[in-house]
Symmetry: C2
């Protein structure tokens, strides 16, 4: 890209960004106007991307962690030859468009990651770079380079303030992710004013303390210095790089350099001012001839890059055919699909905690799936996610697929999403269920992006016992079940746990498997295939007058209560609900077959918030649930105190049946 | 404390901690055994505490951020003369005891903060130290020192990995909180193994980059060095201090120095080994004579300290009586109680967004309550929490009560809890509702501790519009409503918003006020007093055949739907539900009067997850809710697309009524 073209490309990104915001009458012009030169340098010179095949596995990745600057990314993708048209730009932030308010993976060709909530993108990028490194270690051989790309992230002052950034950056330093390059656009402005009111720390020194290679590239306008910085960062293989760039927020706008330009369209006058400043005379989303030529060049360049990479593969096929075949299996998701089909057969039987069942199944999966990567936030022994013999990743053993995340739940979840976004792996992470609160937004992003990651969450209720209310989940089941597209399983034994894994491995959505700390009884009546429908009749009797609905550790007491009730002359049905989200998706016919309106007394039994059960238990349902926090005491004592015993369930059910019969 | 006594105090903390764990047969002996000398130094020498009046306002605060080391705190409190008896120690982690698994504020005399989930405590301590500084700036005068204490926090490697620690530490550095002293016990061990597998960053350098004064005090066994470090930290007024101490996890136990000693009782053999090592011959929770004398000394010392402080107050009463009177008002919570009584009269009327109503009421409160402190995570203009004329806190204007938290939601929420724990202020914080996910665990801690903090959460639904699904809450209402003791208000106008504030100011629990971005119509039918019951009949008609239940921005469309339905010959009732949590607490009689079982068709209308409504709408209820994520488009288009229009509500209701009548 010669100097003149570069100037035009930068002008175009600025103008097209501002016009998108203007046409939407909403959006964020500040960062796009300021940081356009960074995008020009990245896409125009530094990165290896393939506009005509934007998901090519060996491309460089780009994460716009400051997702509010989406217009800048769309403008860049447009002029670089990706399938983002002028029409798409004109529909910025409109219903059904390919240019939503914040970047969405799967909606816009060339967008590698959905972003918006600050800090998340940096952690996603760490996950991508980790995936690259593991893959590189596993597949590259002397004379056979099958995996060879970088991960870039762009972030602003806001991302740098978020705790998840420090967690992720600490791991990137520990993991020595030399292929990760983060551009920190320090424009010195946040919504409430100059950053000196809220960000006085030395971001460069902090990252050095975390083990990063830090380059101060000065003004964003100086693209030569930026190019040199990126070259230096690419050459640094032993540490992740942070390139600090200073831009002028809202460059060229009347209110340049102020927080007012962050998130408000420039308006007609402002747009005229900007066009004058940029010497821009074109209409709409038109670009100069030089930029049109640039677009053609970018497409050619991308295709040449892909052709070169494919020739590497062809060569490798001659020398290391098994490596290429294996890589293809990784990238196709074949291992997960195969494992999904057979995992139910390996369901552990017997009385045990569901965390133990889960751990055993995870170990089984690991035998079937070399592409399985994941770990725990420093609780692997307690989570039962310590897989015997699985090699841990470290800078020295970078082919290891077991991960020590340290006590960093939030980054862990986002990193696991990053691994899934990279492709080629099935990823899981684990911690105590109550700490899912720490990673809630990262989990939400995985649901938004439909990423098939697995959250293995143990210690699922007051069954935690002595550790007390800070460690006993109560409302977390309700919170995660309410999250769209997040499939929450709370299995009651090994067979239901296997069903959870089988669903998780079919892909297309994240799954949370919520498991008990304490031992649960064996249940002969459970069935993996039936569990796959979310809820099913576990036990039935003639003309039942009540239905007991339950999950996990409360299924056993419900079955025992059914026996007590039978002895009292009351017939009931017991329904196991391992996954309420899946049950909600079943046909009305199936739902009614499990919960017929004819059985008037409905009893919901779960050591969690009653909220999730309302739709099924109804306005006159019986709720044996947790309406407050737990407390520190042995688990058995708490289960009894809060009523999760066969006796209490039977008594409450009997009372409701008799009172109904008297009406 | 002489050398011999010190040795005995340390031995006692070790032994009594291990014995608590042993008697509970569960708990964490590792940190107590290692860090006992730190506790001895802090409580024995450094801190000003009053065992016989543990909540005295001008005491030093202590936060055990590594809450799993609770046994160490209980042992220390016991031997320092706090009301923690041998019997209490013997009931460690048992139901109803004063020595729960993790420290709980309000349960144990001398515990200043509930802790357990890592990282939280450091942020709570930052809030306490900030409160001290503001109070100090407001009340101290030359010759009149009414506020003069330090905040200490103890944390381990786990806390240092959590993102919330970096957020909070960055703010402490920015705010130059010289009265904050954090002891970082670096024992080099985490649950998964040595910290080199997960914590290789240079914690000291990171804190220096954040503006901290860092002291490396070496081995925890060297109490002289530690004492010197604390003295140096106390002398440093311009920066928070981090004292890094190296302890041996599980000191004296057979498995000293390994992760195995972190969370498992030593067992009979291990206890014998430890007693031999410590040359301990006493039984049960008995302590040496020297320690009994030490306890008496500590009580005396505390009382002397309090007497000295009270003499300062007496003196100030002569020279600055207005200062003392004002301080008493701050500490008594009088301002909040008074404001609670009159805020409803100031309810803003007219058509506006509820965020704007909220902002106006907040400004009114600020006039009534000089003790109101708070701010936003860099969204004050959008949250409408920018209070005109309110002075911002900064190291130069440390009497300011408006806070720039920067983009640090998680630390913000924990800091606000810390301010409330300190006492003397009413604290609030604000951000977009969807980002409440970032601060979820800190919010939970405020609910566990029953702290009357206010979370002002705007942009509450798909009404956010163009910013798209990353910024549109869907499941957050369900998630927070399910949280015990968290009162979630979603008001539909200014009067209901005033009711939310009135409840919040009565204290005893945290409140989340969830407000719309978009303008809502004025509603003549609302009533602040009725809103205080959580739900109430807003509109009624003769023999209604359906009840429409709703909150916030969907109340208006429900009222319009009622009119449309009346025109179609269908009489309905409209119920406004500003606070489901409060409604759940009303008498059965009241609940039935609002939602009589005779009105068979129940329609729940809310732009959020249906989950919360199940218990009220029931198994055959009509749900007009959000079953998936939103999307990027103008708000009006989304509201129509997802069915939140009077027309759609009327149609769905009519269908249900007619189908019911045909049954």
């Amino acid at each position: 890209m010669n100097e003149l073209t570069e100037k035009d490309v930068i002008r175009s990104i600025r103008m097209l960004s501002a016009r998108q915001v203007e046409s939407a009458k909403s959006g964020h012009p500040g960062t796009p106007l300021g940081a356009a030169p960074v995008m020009a340098e990245l896409y125009g010179n530094a990165m290896n991307v393939v506009p005509t095949d934007p998901d090519f596995y060996d491309r460089d990745r780009f994460v716009l962690s400051s997702g509010h600057a989406s217009a800048m990314l769309y403008a860049t993708l447009h002029i670089c030859g990706f399938d983002v048209t002028e029409k798409d730009l004109s529909e910025f932030r409109q219903a059904g468009s390919r240019t939503p308010g914040h970047p969405e993976r799967g909606v816009t060709p060339g967008v590698d990651c959905s972003t918006g909530p600050l800090g998340q993108g940096v952690a996603n990028a760490v996950g991508m770079a980790l995936a690259e490194r593991i893959m590189e270690a596993r597949f590259n051989r002397p004379g056979c380079t099958l995996v060879d790309h970088y991960t870039y992230a762009f972030c602003g002052d806001g991302c740098m303030m978020e705790g998840i950034e420090n967690e992720a950056a600490s791991l990137a330093g520990l993991w020595k992710l030399g292929r990760l390059i983060v551009i920190y656009d320090s424009n010195g402005i946040t919504i409430e004013g100059d950053t000196h009111i809220s960000l006085t720390e030395d971001v460069a020194e902090r990252h050095k303390a975390l083990g990063w290679h830090v380059i101060r590239a000065g003004s964003a306008e100086n693209t030569e210095t930026l190019a040199a910085a990126i070259a230096e960062a690419k050459a640094e293989d032993g540490r992740p790089s942070l390139i600090i760039v200073s831009s002028r927020i809202g460059y060229g706008a009347p209110n340049e350099g102020t927080s007012a330009v962050h998130g408000t369209p420039l308006g007609k006058e402002g747009m005229k001012f900007l066009a004058d400043k940029l010497e821009w005379t074109l209409d709409g989303f038109d670009v100069p001839q030089s930029v049109k030529a640039f677009k053609r060049e970018m497409i050619k360049k991308g295709e040449a890059y892909m052709a070169e990479r494919k020739s590497r593969i062809s060569e490798a096929e001659r020398n290391h055919p098994e490596s290429v075949a294996e890589l293809r299996k990784y990238l196709s998701g074949e291992y997960a699909r195969d494992a999904a089909r057979c995992i139910a057969e390996r369901a552990p039987l017997g009385s045990d905690s569901t965390r133990s069942h889960m751990g055993k199944l995870l170990a089984e999966l690991d035998k079937l799936m070399p592409d399985l990567v994941g770990g725990s936030a420093d609780l692997a022994p307690s989570n039962c996610t310590l897989i015997a013999g699985k090699k841990y990743y470290s800078p020295q053993t970078s082919d290891g697929g077991a991960i020590h995340f340290g006590v960093r739940e939030h980054a862990m979840a986002a990193i696991v999403s990053g691994i899934a976004l990279h492709g080629g792996f099935t990823a899981f992470c684990s911690t105590f269920f109550v700490f899912s609160d720490y990673m809630k937004y990262a989990m939400r992003m995985s649901a938004l992006m439909k990423l098939p990651v697995m959250y293995l969450l143990t210690h699922d209720s007051i069954g935690v016992g002595e550790d007390g209310p800070t460690h006993q989940p109560v409302e977390q089941l309700a919170g995660l079940r309410a999250m769209p597209r997040m499939y929450v399983f709370r299995p009651c034994d090994g067979k239901e746990t296997a069903a959870a894994f089988a669903f998780a491995l079919t892909g297309g959505a994240p799954v949370a498997i919520v498991a008990s700390r304490q031992k649960l009884p064996e249940c002969e009546l459970t069935d993996s295939a039936k569990a796959a429908r979310g809820a099913y009749v576990l036990y039935d009797s003639e003309k039942p007058s009540a239905v007991l609905m339950s999950s996990g550790s409360e299924v056993g007491p419900c079955l025992d209560a059914a026996k007590l009730l039978a002895a009292r002359g009351i017939n009931v049905r017991v329904v196991s609900v391992p996954c309420m989200d899946l049950f909600a998706e079943q046909s009305e016919e199936y739902k009614k077959s499990v919960l017929p309106s004819g059985i008037r007394v409905r009893v919901a039994v779960e050591a969690g918030s009653r909220q999730c059960w309302g739709e099924y238990a109804g306005t006159d349902g019986v709720y044996i649930c947790m309406d407050g926090f737990g407390e520190s005491a042995p688990a058995g004592i708490l289960m009894e105190k809060y009523g999760f015993t066969a006796e209490n369930i039977a008594d409450k059910t009997e009372l409701a049946v008799r009172s109904r019969n008297n009406k």
